[in-house]
């Protein structure tokens, strides 16, 4: 059965290698190119964070898509198939997992790897890692599914598939590794493909964002490595299982504190913990949709997973000494992230900052050092992966349609223009703000419950303050999500906030106000509504032209001709119809979907829906039945903290 774990790593890896081999005939030296690419981009990075250099990486990676033997449909479906097989393996793993012994690593593989250094290739899965492995496989598969029809900017599609498959190997390996250095190796493997995902397929400022991402996280990793080595020096083993069972015996308190500080710092960069978070908004804003999804959905979890798996069980005394600091930074992150979100103008940037807040809850749960808090953290991890993954998918879809994620330029009325996209955005936001009955709630609630009574030895009044601040954070979280929903999804669809030359475009309205909750801002839309009948061509209320409103007034009037850009409307209809029939529209290129006329944008496409539905379903299921996850993580958590 242990072949399952090997398979989980081997399938995406083999997929990537096969892709490389298939691409070989066109340019024999592409392996060398892949190497040279990292060198050249390193040279680019040295020039400074703000200086995008000539994109040497683009040339390097172009090898893979230029292969003559690979047809477009093949490339398109290659990723979903390979990651689909991986997902099936992950599901098989979850099904054959022995839930009675969730506390123990199962399907273990323990082979000598580098005997000279006593490094072992030790893999296994227990109640803590299983949900994350499945989440990773699922999110990767969904990303590929989404890519079938929604390619990011940049042309080297084959290279993107290759990169994402390598990324998947690294992510799954991180969660499977039971050897400290093996963990570190996988932890590092992830960085490289993610760097390329951002640097090659990202937005305008992608170079700076990617360089910042890789420098920041590499710096964190260096500290992490030092911490791991410190543990090794003191205990003489790198085996996580044995280390966790030892509960820190063999290490002095001072050494534990030092090691926890080093390991914690390294992991905190990844989580990210305030104030080490500034790489995140930049990376998220510039990354392509799939990059953002995997970054938020999986990569951030590697940090908090490291806390739950290594830092806290292996270094209990160090954890106890530094937990108040961890908790303080966590609640700081919650409030700070929420406040930052309130003032954001870019949708993707706002979601990125919301991750800071949410991971603050996860870190708060960890800081309590209680089983409740640890369960909260693990639940929060999975929930955040599902919900924020969904949010980034939707934000990407919005950006694809509107050509921007700037809230003021999106205008209002998305529920009228794109009812399904608007509804899904509402759902994701509501889930993210921690509504009970959806997955986001349980992690937050349990983290607060853990803080209400932290582990013995920690200052209870201090953690009560943390809890109160965290509670405040939930209100702020609700505030920024609801304000964003109000700005983007509500309002009249034709409010021409985003159109520089449209009628009424000169009216400032909420577009210039960062937030619309003030009393003054709300006068504008109302005035405009009254003025509308006089503006000639657009006298009919805009919602009448929207699909969901057709039943009443619009149907009889439809043939009389809509004043709003009839040509664009026609053009918009055609792809929708052919999409429905399952026929790929002619001329579907690698570029982004065309931003259709102002009057009508394309609502959710079948591929988007296929990629998003599992996330929605899981969010609801885990929200209504949290036991499904808690029953898996709790035994392992109890075992980790049991000896206290």
């Amino acid at each position: 059965m242990s072949a399952l774990l090997i398979g989980l790593l081997a399938v995406p890896l083999a997929g990537a290698v096969v892709l490389m081999l298939l691409a070989r005939p066109s340019q024999p030296s592409e392996a060398g190119d892949l190497v040279s690419l990292s060198v050249s981009s390193g040279a680019g990075g040295r020039e400074g964070l703000s200086a995008p250099s000539a994109a040497g990486d683009r040339e390097g990676l172009s090898v893979l898509s230029g292969a003559p033997g690979l047809s477009v449909p093949f490339m398109r479906w290659y990723g979903p198939v390979v990651s689909g097989v991986t997902l099936v393996l992950a599901i098989v793993l979850a099904v054959s997992f022995d839930y009675g012994r969730a506390a123990r690593p199962q399907f273990e593989i323990d082979r000598a790897w580098i005997p000279g250094l006593d490094l072992r290739f030790h893999l296994g899965v227990d109640g803590i890692s299983l949900p994350l492995v499945v989440l990773t496989a699922l999110l990767t598969f969904l990303c590929f599914l989404y890519l079938v029809r929604h390619k990011p900017d940049g042309e080297r599609f084959g290279a993107l598939v290759f990169t994402l498959l390598v990324l998947e190997v690294g992510m799954i390996g991180t969660f499977l590794a039971l050897d400290l250095l093996l963990f570190f190796v996988f932890f590092e493997i992830v960085l490289i493909p993610m760097y390329f995902v951002i640097a090659v397929w990202g937005g305008k400022e992608r170079r700076a964002a990617a360089v910042k991402f890789i420098l920041y996280t590499l710096l964190g990793s260096a500290v992490l490595l030092l911490g791991l080595l410190l543990i090794w020096v003191h205990t003489g083993t790198l085996d996580m299982v044995r280390l966790a069972q030892a509960h820190g015996s063999g290490m002095s308190r001072a050494a534990q504190i030092l090691a926890f500080l080093a390991v914690g710092l390294g992991l905190a960069v990844k989580a990210p913990m305030w104030p080490l978070h500034t790489w995140l908004p930049a990376a998220h804003t510039e990354a392509p949709t799939v990059g953002s999804v995997l970054l938020a959905g999986v990569l951030l979890k590697m940090g908090t997973y490291g806390f739950a798996r290594i830092a806290i069980p292996v270094l209990p005394e160090g954890a106890a000494a530094l937990a108040p600091w961890l908790g303080a930074f966590a609640v700081m992150g919650i409030v700070y992230g929420s406040l930052a979100c309130l003032a954001q103008r870019d949708l993707k940037r706002m979601i990125a900052y919301s991750s800071v807040g949410h991971m603050g809850f996860v870190l708060l749960g960890l800081a309590t050092l209680t089983p409740v808090g640890m369960n909260a953290a693990l639940f929060g991890n999975v929930a955040h992966g599902l919900i924020t993954g969904l949010l980034f998918f939707i934000a990407g879809a919005i950006k694809e349609r509107y050509g921007t994620a700037e809230m003021s330029r999106l205008g209002g009325g998305m529920l009228g223009r794109l009812p399904y996209l608007g509804s899904l955005l509402t759902f994701a936001c509501v889930a993210s703000l921690g509504l009970p009955g959806l997955a986001g709630f349980w992690g937050e609630m349990l983290a607060l419950l853990g803080a209400f009574r932290p582990a013995p030895g920690l200052s209870r009044p201090l953690f009560l303050v943390f809890m109160a601040i965290g509670g405040l954070g939930t209100v702020l979280t609700a505030a920024y999500f609801l304000l964003m929903l109000s700005r983007v999804t509500h309002g009249r669809p034709d409010e021409p906030e985003g159109r520089p030359d449209g009628p009424g475009g000169e009216a400032p309205g909420p577009a210039e106000e960062p937030l619309v909750s003030t009393a003054e801002a709300d006068e504008e839309p109302r005035v405009r509504i009254i003025e509308e009948p006089g503006t000639g061509g657009e006298e009919r209320p805009a919602f009448a032209e929207e699909p969901s409103f057709v039943e009443t007034a619009a149907l009889p009037e439809e043939p009389s001709g809509l004043p709003v850009e009839p040509v664009a409307t026609e053009a918009a209809q055609a792809p929708t119809a052919s999409e429905a029939a399952g026929v790929p529209p002619p001329g579907e290129g690698a570029g982004p979907l065309p931003v259709l006329g102002f009057g009508r944008l394309r609502d959710v496409t079948p591929y988007e829906l296929a990629a998003w539905t599992p996330l929605v379903v899981l969010t609801v299921v885990l929200g209504l039945w949290p036991k499904a996850l808690l029953a898996v993580t709790d035994p392992a958590v109890q075992a980790f903290l049991g000896a206290r």
């Binding site: 400074g48 009970p436 419950l449 509670g471 109000s486 009948p533 039943e551 808690l630």
Partner: protein, 655 residues
């Protein structure tokens, strides 16, 4: 027993499934006739059935549960663990408990037990909820018949009903909290139903946020009680209440009170309710009259032994109630929007219930809760019919409607009579029970501090007069005098109001619920005749009539102008609800937004600036180092030799 629990589960789950079916089953994505998302008549009919039928079944089952408890014989007696304070007041008439746990969720600490618990109190409130919800669903079929988004609207009502029933039936405080918050969401979605208008959107956000502030306190209160009791189950918590230290009880109940104030729209978290009238009228009837706002009162009654053990909390509740009832009643007297009149009257009436709870009579509070649920839902549905017919919310656009609205007029008259507390309408009996309990608390030294008790009593009596005044004013301005309807210009109705002026009585689907609700609004009080104390009843009746006659006199002298002028200099502050909103936006909203902008700026300049700064420092330092790399071999060699010399000298000197 398990069968009964199954029934209780069905009561909760049926509306939930209806909501799921309504959301997923009534729209198409691709293909089929019409553009995507279109709602065609068959879809509309299906949505109506999906909404009404499960609610109807739920109603029947809830009534059946209540009847089963009433019959009582087959069931065990009520829990003996009622806080050590003996049997609760419903213990005699509705003995027995139906209880069942589906599963226990281990959290690593105190487990959460997913279960239901139906006792007399829960069964009573559930019947109120389902009946009102059914009436509202049926009413909506007519009221929203031109509304393209009717399917999602009715589905949200179903979800809301389900959440409220979960609150009522929950066995575990955290399960209760789940329902509690989902109600908040539904409230948000439904208030913002006409989201084209920014004002509605803002009202929805406000409702969610204000109640959420309270809910955080509520959650912490649950934590406090749960950890003190070692369990989140309501039974266990109540059983441990006698052993809990007073400090814990006071802290827990104060925190719970925050949530109660949020949901039941009590001072200082009441400001969302009047704005919530932006939602369609059926929603106002359901959420803002009969159910969601009742949840706060219900929870206090549910955990009443804990509150009885915390005297400071009851004092605070008394003060809150006193301020809320009078202030809201005065605000109601000054409003021109009919729905806002009713909204403020809801705050005022809920404050009555809170006052009764503070005074120590949960029975009076629940009695008033039930009759108020009936008559306020009736009033809102009637108001909806009026608004539907007139095309405006404002009373200055109404008048003289008694001639055309031959069914709505008597029904609404019953509602107003109940609101004022005129016999034999239900409000007379329940309000008197409340007043009597407050009077007892004031006269007899006991649970409340004297000052709080007398403040409460004084405000309660004054409020009776003001209630009489505003009810009379609304009744006269709507149905009597010259009709001002024709002057309404309706080129394009605001999204918040009805659609076209047809000047006729509402359709049958709207009239039936009104007629059905009128019966309990009129007669329900007779069930509580035993609670009436005739001396206080006479006093309150006289006071109410005094208030009413003052308004009537003002109206007779000049039927055209608004009788709200009797308020004199108070009128403007009352119309602005005493400027609470303005104060909040200055004191709370503005600083938070300022702080948010500050954080965003700081993050860019300071936190990230440090990161970028470290980059440029590194570049600068390496630039300095590069100076040394001149490529001049002589220079390098000189450096090496100098180094060797220094090392040698150092070794000699130090060694």
């Amino acid at each position: 027993m398990t069968g009964m629990v199954g029934v209780a589960a069905a009561v909760v789950l049926l509306p939930f499934l209806a909501a799921v079916a309504g959301l997923l089953g009534t729209r198409r994505l691709w293909g089929g006739g019409g553009p995507p998302g279109a709602i065609l008549p068959p879809v509309y009919r299906r949505a109506a059935w999906t909404a009404v039928l499960p609610t109807a079944i739920s109603t029947v089952l809830a009534i059946w549960l209540l009847a089963g408890l009433w019959a009582g014989n087959a069931l065990p007696r009520g829990t003996a663990s009622y806080g050590g304070a003996g049997s609760p007041w419903w213990g005699d008439t509705l003995p027995g408990v139906v209880q069942g746990t589906l599963s226990v969720i281990g959290t690593g600490g105190i487990p959460i037990s997913v279960g239901l618990r139906v006792d007399g109190l829960a069964a009573l409130i559930a019947v109120l909820v389902t009946v009102v919800a059914l009436a509202v669903q049926v009413y909506s079929v007519g009221y929203m018949r031109h509304e393209p988004r009717y399917p999602s609207f009715s589905a949200f009502i179903s979800l809301f009903t389900s959440a409220m029933l979960l609150v009522v039936y929950a066995d575990d405080l955290l399960v209760l909290y789940v329902g509690w918050e989902i109600m908040g969401l539904c409230s948000y979605l439904l208030i913002g139903h006409w989201w084209e208008d920014r004002a509605n959107s803002r009202a929805a956000v406000k409702a969610f946020l204000v109640t959420r502030i309270g809910d955080v306190g509520f959650l912490f209160g649950i934590f406090t009680l749960g950890l003190a009791a070692g369990s989140f189950r309501i039974d266990d918590v109540l059983a441990r209440v006698p052993q809990m230290p007073t400090g814990i009880l006071v802290a827990a109940t104060m925190l719970l009170l925050l949530g109660v104030a949020g949901k039941s729209a009590q001072v200082p978290l009441h400001t969302w309710l009047p704005d919530a009238m932006a939602g369609p009228t059926p929603i106002s009837a359901l959420i803002h009259a009969a159910t969601m706002v009742a949840a706060g009162i219900f929870v206090v009654a549910r955990l009443y032994p804990a509150f009885l053990g915390a005297r400071p909390t009851l004092d605070l509740l008394a003060v809150i109630a006193a301020l809320g009832m009078l202030g809201a009643a005065l605000a109601a007297l000054a409003q021109d929007d009919l729905k806002r009149v009713l909204a403020y009257s809801t705050i005022s009436q809920l404050a009555y219930m809170a006052g009764a709870l503070a005074a120590g009579s949960d029975q009076a509070a629940i009695f008033h809760l039930i009759t108020h649920g009936a008559f306020k839902a009736l009033l809102f549905l009637c108001a909806g019919a009026v608004i539907h017919a007139v095309g405006s919310n404002l009373m200055s656009d109404m008048g003289g409607l008694r001639r055309t609205m031959t069914i709505t007029f008597p029904a609404m008259t019953i509602g107003f009579a109940a609101l004022m507390g005129l016999p034999p309408a239900s409000g007379f009996f329940s309000k008197d029970a409340v007043l009597a309990s407050i009077e007892h608390a004031a006269i007899e030294p006991g649970r409340l501090t004297d000052a709080a008790a007398w403040l409460l009593y004084g405000c309660a009596l004054l409020t009776v007069a003001v209630t009489g005044a505003y009810a009379t004013r609304a009744w006269l301005r709507t149905f009597f005098g010259e009709s001002r309807v024709q002057s309404v210009a309706l080129p394009e109705p605001e999204p918040g109001v009805a659609h076209v002026w047809d000047g006729r009585e509402a359709p049958a689907t709207m009239l039936w619920p009104i007629g059905v609700l009128a019966i309990p609004a009129l007669l329900l009080g007779l069930a509580g005749v035993g609670l009436v104390e005739w001396s206080s009843a006479v006093i309150s009746l006289v006071v109410a009539l005094l208030g009413a006659s003052a308004v009537y006199a003002a109206w007779r002298s000049d039927p055209v102008t608004d009788p709200a002028r009797v308020l004199g200099p108070l009128r403007v502050p009352a119309e602005q609800a005493f400027y609470v909103d303005a104060v909040y936006s200055r004191v709370l909203v503005a600083p938070v937004l300022w702080l948010a902008r500050l954080v965003a700026r700081t993050d860019d300049t300071v936190v990230d600036g440090a990161v970028r700064g470290s980059g440029s420092v590194a570049v600068g330092v390496s630039g300095l180092l590069r100076r040394a790399q001149t490529g001049n071999a002589q220079l390098y060699l000189t450096g090496v030799l100098a180094g060797v010399l220094i090392i040698v000298v150092g070794a000699v000197v130090l060694g």
